[in-house]
Amino acid sequence: MHTPTHLAAELRLPTNWLDYSILGIYFVVVLGIGFAARRSVKTSLDFFLSGRSLPAWVTGLAFVAANLGATEILGMAANSAQYGVYTTHWYWIGAIPAMVFLGLVMMPFYYGSKVRSVPEFLLLRFDRSSHLLSSILFAVAAILIAGVNLYALAIVVEALLGWPQWVAIVVAGFFVLAYITLGGLSSAIYNEVLQFFVILAGLIPITVLGLKKVGGWDGLSDSLTQTRGGDFMTAWGGTGIGSDNPLGANWLTIVLGLGFVLSFGYWTTNFAEVQRALSAKNLSAAQRTPLIAAFPKIFIVFVVMIPGLVAAVLVPKIGTPGSDLQYNDAIPYLMQQLLPNGVLGIAVTGLLAAFMAGMAANVSSFNTVFTTDIWARYVVKDREDDYYVRFGRLITVIGVLASIGTAFLASSFSNIMSYLQTLFSFFNVPMFVVFIIGMFWKRASMKSGFWGLIAGTTAAMVNYFVIYKQGIIDIPSDQGANFVSAIAGFVAGAVVMVAVSLFTAPKPVSELQGLVYGTVSPGMSEAPAKGDDAWYRKPALLGWGAVVLAAACYIPFSF
């Protein structure tokens, strides 16, 4: 598996026994969580959804950590070194509004209807064909993304620690396999919460020391404005329609493509995320899951973007053919340059933890969809519950092995983040169209879900692989093309859904209770638990607070 995306050999970190002890302790704790969570698994609901019993702060931190995989961290630092402060768009407009929408508007339907997965909602709202299609698409995508994580981990570990790639893959794969097979989703979520704190403990020192090295924020800003131009340090500079910027996107494609379609598709219908909220202990906690996650998400951009910007100052040629360092090397480079043994061990541990959590989020959602939505629904039906717990464990093993096999797919893309976004634009965009129309339009017919998914996926793929890759229209970057593909997929899916609905039978109103806006299901009317009426637990306050805070964050970067 030798590919051109390997990190430079000079990135080897000066790790010593202290760093390895810190890493070793972490691996022991990870396995310990798996073994300790094992006794909490009795039913399939325990294994796949933690028995719908976790508190909101746990599911909320897991919600943000499931997205804070190492591919995201390294990829967003890479984005920053390449495009500058534009990176903030992936957080403030590309995440917060969608997370708030999920919590305030969609969660009552998801949680209240008691579905165990995102595809299961489609089964209730539409029909079996849309359910099966989305289940299979999701299962394939989850394995692909888990494979991307594993492959990226192997490259990074080889460069930083000198382990051969197969060793890194086997070790990380084994630990993920072990703790999910033992403790199911509880174990995955608990490890995500732990990883959240460890990764921050690694990233904050890198950010602080990096800033100090380049003379603080002013030094950073001055030096990049000089070398990369004034727009590099602003969020919106150069994004007028028709003007040229390195991102290859204008404000309209950023707002619609990234902020609306891609972001809502990812955050509201990607089961790897939504699953964390579905495991919450009641509707209030489920609603608060993405809202609690939104606050750390607003600020995480600083600890990934600043290291990327600092790397762009220290290595002006980063990412160009004349440099040994690629954009993805930004954070590893700073770790090597700035961190002494001790904190270095924490940062390495955080990075490995993030890789494993990124993979585990996909594996734990894959096993749920494969077992409850595919196996139990279409293949081996109506067996006793114990059977499905055993099958869930078996399919976890198979899923991890399959993701190891797909790791090589990641090698043909230079920027890991771009690869992930490409996949999301194909699989998640049509899902979002189908959800949004299905949830807000009673008339959307049973068949329209399936055809909306097909049309949206096809349109996004055609736009990306034919129209963009063949050069029929000129878009300067993969990221810009992703935004446009997402919009194309959304529009095609919406048009086809409306057209099909007009000619096919709607779902009987009696079967739509609790699934469509304006209807109520029994699960929604449960009384709030004791203490949930405290003002700081009000979903509306949390949600709007996050939106206002994200908008306010734009102000210093907009002029």
Partner: protein, 102 residues
């Protein structure tokens, strides 16, 4: 394809599983693990900071980063242990909420 599947089936199935679920009763509290790990890490990294050589401090731009990070992690760990002490895990309700009249 006839589709007789309605939300009743899923809701009944999940409601029944909720009554048998044991996660709430048997799952340990994660605050204990976070607290414990960060206290251990905090102590290790703080000690590394206390015995830091000049080379290490120079590398980190003149900041004793091990000391500060170690103390920060120690505080976070103690915060979680204190939180656990002050607000222990609530015992699960005798009859699970989800098993109520639905």
């Amino acid at each position: 394809m006839s589709d007789s599947y309605s939300d009743k089936n899923v809701q009944d199935e999940v409601s029944e599983l909720e009554t048998k679920s044991v996660t709430a009763a048997r799952l340990f509290d994660i605050r204990r693990i976070i607290g414990g790990l960060f206290v251990v890490y905090g102590v290790i990294v703080t000690i590394a900071g206390l015995v830091a050589s000049d080379d290490e401090i120079d590398k980190a731009q003149g900041v004793n980063i091990n000391l500060w990070t170690g103390l920060g992690m120690l505080v976070l760990g103690l915060f979680f242990l204190a939180w656990l002490k002050l607000r222990p895990t609530a015992p699960p309700p005798p009859s699970a909420e989800g098993a109520g009249p639905e």
